[in-house]
């Protein structure tokens, strides 16, 4: 029996008893469940199993604590209206916001955060981590950590640009179709159907093969692929607004279509649109990463998470986790965005009560 095991169980049982005594059911249940799980894992896996459980639980508690503190921080600094909304946000959404905040910082201040240059060769290939390199070196001897920080800029920036382009295209077409109606509505709708019928990856590969793997081609290809989904959503949301009496009143006043769209329809359809933006962003991000993995995305030597996974893939067979780090960065961002989107969808769907 090591000291760790004794201290660990003493702490858990003590905390559980305290929670039970204070009648805090929501604290007691997870704590005591953890105690029971640790007990079983301790018998099966020994001290190392216990360490694993303890670290996992600690990380989870840390994430929850960070999210909680971050939410309170946002509530404190934001204006009252936004703060009121945020107060009701679940911890997962706060966690998502925190992760997004971290990524934004990393992207904006990459040159200051990264200890080495994006393309600077500083060590031998696949050198292990040392005090100079936090995560070791890649296949050409460049610092892995620096490249991940720069990759935030490239990968996330590209995905953001492409999603915005898709939204611009899809939303303006959708709003126009809803306001105009008639044959134009039909025409745009069928055009969207045609684009949706082409498999997205094949379409992107085709475009990139024809025009070459340039950034602008990626953005346009992705915008075309994703705009029909945005179009459909916007058209249905705007379609519900267009039939309102206040639109009729504005039409009878003689307002132009531009005014109708900007002032009357758009303010009433922002909530689902923002949620959809987050959702589409994840898909775009994964598609761009996939393209990079296939060698058709952002071209070397620029750092990009998708291509970093591919370039370091050989290390997997040596049992090294280095290639999984950029993959984890992708996964974390997607999960974080989804957490935030879930919360927003929940709010806009009116399921609050």
């Amino acid at each position: 029996m090591s000291t760790f095991v004794i201290v660990y169980f003493a702490f858990l049982i003590g905390a559980s008893c305290l929670a039970a005594y204070m009648d805090r059911r929501s604290v007691f249940m997870p704590l005591f469940s953890l105690t029971l799980v640790s007990f079983v894992v301790g018998i099966v896996g020994g001290t190392s199993g216990l360490w694993f459980i303890a670290i996992a639980a600690g990380l989870l508690a840390l994430a929850a604590g960070t999210s909680y503190a971050f939410r309170e921080f946002l509530v404190a600094i934001l204006p009252t209206n936004a703060a009121k909304e945020l107060k009701t946000a679940p911890l997962t959404a706060a966690f998502g916001l925190f992760v997004m905040f971290t990524y934004a910082i990393a992207g904006f201040f990459a040159p200051w955060i990264a200890p080495h240059g994006e393309t600077e060769v500083i060590a031998s290939a696949f050198a292990p981590a040392d005090e100079n390199m936090l995560l070791g070196a890649d296949q050409l001897g460049r610092d892995m950590f620096s490249r991940i920080v720069y990759g935030t800029r490239n990968s996330v920036g590209l995905a953001l640009l492409a999603t915005s382009a898709a939204f611009l295209l899809g939303a303006s077409a959708g709003l126009y179709a809803a306001v105009r109606g008639g044959w134009m509505d039909q025409f745009l709708g069928r055009a969207a159907d045609v684009i949706m019928s082409i498999p997205s990856l094949i379409f992107a590969l085709l475009m990139l093969a024809i025009f070459g793997p340039k950034i602008i081609v990626i953005i346009i290809a992705v915008a075309i692929i994703f705009s029909p989904r945005v179009f459909r959503l916007v058209r249905s949301v705007a379609g519900n607004v267009v039939v309102m009496d206040y639109i009729e009143a504005a039409k009878l006043r003689g307002e132009k279509r531009g005014y109708l769209i900007r002032k009357e329809i758009l303010p009433n359809s922002t909530a689902p649109l923002i949620a959809e933006f987050g959702l589409e962003f994840c898909f775009v991000f994964l598609l761009v990463a996939g393209l990079s993995f296939l060698g058709l995305g952002i071209q070397p030597p620029a750092a990009d998470w998708g291509s970093m996974v591919r370039e370091n893939a050989t290390l997997i067979s040596f049992g090294d986790i280095t290639p999984l780090i950029p993959a984890a960065a992708i996964a974390l961002l997607t999960v974080a965005v989804n957490f935030v989107v879930d919360w927003m969808l929940f709010r806009s769907s009116g399921l609050k009560e």
Binding site: M244, D245, L252, K263, E264, P267, E353
Partner: protein
């Protein structure tokens, strides 16, 4: 009706009921301690404005608190069973079997995917009271008693295949399917036309009498409640104002609030006559109209509206009143015929009209909720027409908006920066009026502007419209199905049926016999405050004449 005399057993006894609702971040009281005692076979009318807590009390009588509300105090005793402490399954066993509920909109309450009779027999089958065939036969018998046409066949239709009034009666039959001790009627006739309302009222009253069922009848229409209830309870903001038997309540109300409710229909103004040798401001001439691909909705509609006068267009729903308005505004270009404005023909579609032509005719809508953009500030809603037509900017625009807010009797500094969802129904309707006025029109179409409002609030709106007419010399086209409104505000009346004008003329002439048979039907169907009105009317028409056969 005859239950008052006998001493009967108490069925439902609510004492000190308190209900709270969750708004924003705290619990706010909705019902502040209401007592209610209902005997077997007694019909109690609950009346009050919207927000008075009528429906909440109705739901509480079933031991039910809607989402976001909770019963925070008091007791609800139903036939010896305490509902506030009963378990959910105990309460569920009561609902449908011993307590039934009839909702306001039958069309929204029936499941459109199932036949009416299948929905009817659901409760008896669930509670194992009857076998399916028995339940179906029982349903047909109930349909017959409720005077539904083809009682043997109508249940096998889907809800969309029968009319609104028939559906409401089918729902009453459904509530009766388990022969409950108590039925809660939550505004069962509010969404219906006056002519259909009579059928439903007569049917409900008969069936409640025949089975000696106790009922709580919730409505905001005093004349209706006078026909139905043995006792009336008046509610205001979650508190009881007073309770008395129907005759006593009508003849001798005690509280000031009740008196004001009773006096609400008193607003009247003298009828104006047409100005001599002037051209009509708006003249609708031989208009035919149809929606794309459909049948003709309007056929040869003609009438004139003179400056400074109010023309009321009345008729049941589907008679083409609103379509006429759409033809005048140009939303629906007529197939033939034309609309003249000050003697000059208007282009059929609003796309082709000039800014000035558009400015002259404005609309006020029935549902203020959908007529005002919820995401736009009041100042901009009212300011936009002024800015758009007159090109006002900055300080000029602000003073114009303030002036308009003053005109509709809302304090400018308080409402300037607010959003429509923060306002009450009456205030929203006033904003709608201000938006119409901002264009400085000479003619306003009022499409059922008061029918979604409580009587006191509606009265205020009518007075406001009347004052504005005097001050600004406006002409109104007043679309309504409420003849009481017509009586109070109109100068001329146009009666429409099935897309045709059946009769038109000055108000006083229209309200004195002889009438066109359809006008007569409309007029006689308006409920009156006399508790014997329905009985007398049914005797006059003959019982068999109520319902589908009452057509002219």
């Amino acid at each position: 009706m005859s239950a008052t005399g006998k001493k009967k057993q108490v069925l439902l006894d609510i004492e000190g009921l308190k209900i709270e609702g969750f708004t924003g971040e705290e619990w706010v009281p909705i019902i502040k301690g209401v007592d209610l005692k209902l005997h077997r076979g007694e019909v109690m009318g609950l009346i009050g404005e919207s927000g008075a807590g009528k429906s909440t009390i109705g739901a509480a009588a079933m031991g039910y608190a809607r989402d976001g509300t909770r019963i925070s105090g008091g007791s609800i005793d139903f036939d010896g069973m305490e509902l506030t402490t009963a378990t959910e399954s105990e309460r569920r066993a009561l609902r449908g079997a011993r307590i039934a509920y009839v909702a306001q909109s039958a069309a929204a309450s029936f499941n459109p995917a199932h036949k009416i009779i299948d929905q009817h027999t659901e409760a008896p089958l669930h509670y194992r009271i009857q076998k399916r065939m028995e339940a179906q036969e029982d349903a047909m018998e109930l349909y017959e008693r409720l005077r539904l046409p083809n009682p043997k066949e109508i249940g096998f239709r889907y809800p969309h295949q029968v009319s609104g009034g028939q559906l409401q009666r089918a729902m009453t039959a459904m509530a009766m399917s388990c022969r409950p001790d108590l039925i809660i009627f939550d505004e069962p006739t509010t969404a219906l036309d006056v002519t259909t309302q009579i059928e439903v009222l007569a049917a409900i009253r008969d069936i409640v009498d025949q089975f000696d069922t106790a009922a709580i009848y919730i409505t905001h229409d005093l004349a209706v409640v006078a026909q139905m209830a043995d006792t009336i309870k008046v509610l205001l903001k979650g508190e009881e104002v007073e309770q008395a038997s129907t005759e006593k309540m009508l003849s001798d109300p005690q509280e000031d609030y009740t008196k004001s409710l009773w006096a609400v229909r008193s607003f009247k103004r003298p009828q104006k006559s047409r100005p001599k040798d002037a051209t009509a401001l708006v003249s609708v001439q031989n208009v035919d109209a149809a929606y794309t691909g459909g049948e003709k909705v309007l056929e040869d509609v003609s009438f004139d509206i003179y400056e400074g006068m109010t023309v009321a267009v009345v008729g049941e729903s589907g008679s083409g009143k609103s379509t006429t308005a759409r033809c005048i505004t140009g939303l629906l270009p007529p197939m033939s015929g034309q609309v003249l404005f000050k003697g000059e023909p208007l282009p059929p579609s609003y796309h082709d009209r000039t800014k000035d032509q558009l400015r002259q005719a404005q609309m006020i809508y029935q549902m203020a909720d959908t007529a005002l953009n919820p995401k736009v500030r009041i100042s901009e809603i009212i300011g936009r027409p002024a800015q758009f037509y007159s090109g006002l900017k900055g300080a000029e625009l602000k003073s114009r908006v303030d002036e308009l807010l003053d005109l509709i009797e809302l304090e400018p500094s308080q409402y300037y920066d607010r959003y429509p969802p923060e306002l009450s129904g009456g205030q929203k309707q006033r904003i709608g009026i201000a938006r119409a006025l901002a264009a400085e029109p000479s003619f306003i179409i009022c499409d059922e502007v008061t029918s979604a409002l409580d009587q006191l609030v509606a009265e205020g709106i009518l007075k406001l419209l009347d004052r504005l007419q005097k001050e600004l010399g406006l002409a109104y086209m007043f679309i309504t199905h409420d003849l009481a409104t017509v009586r109070s505000i109109a100068d001329e009346v146009v009666v429409m049926q099935n897309g045709k004008v059946v009769e038109q003329g000055p108000k006083e002439e229209m309200f004195t016999p002889p009438h066109h048979p359809y006008t007569d039907l409309l007029l006689s169907s308006v409920p009156e405050m006399d508790p014997n009105w329905l009985t007398t009317l049914l005797e006059e028409r003959g019982v068999d004449n109520v319902g589908e056969s009452a057509d002219v």
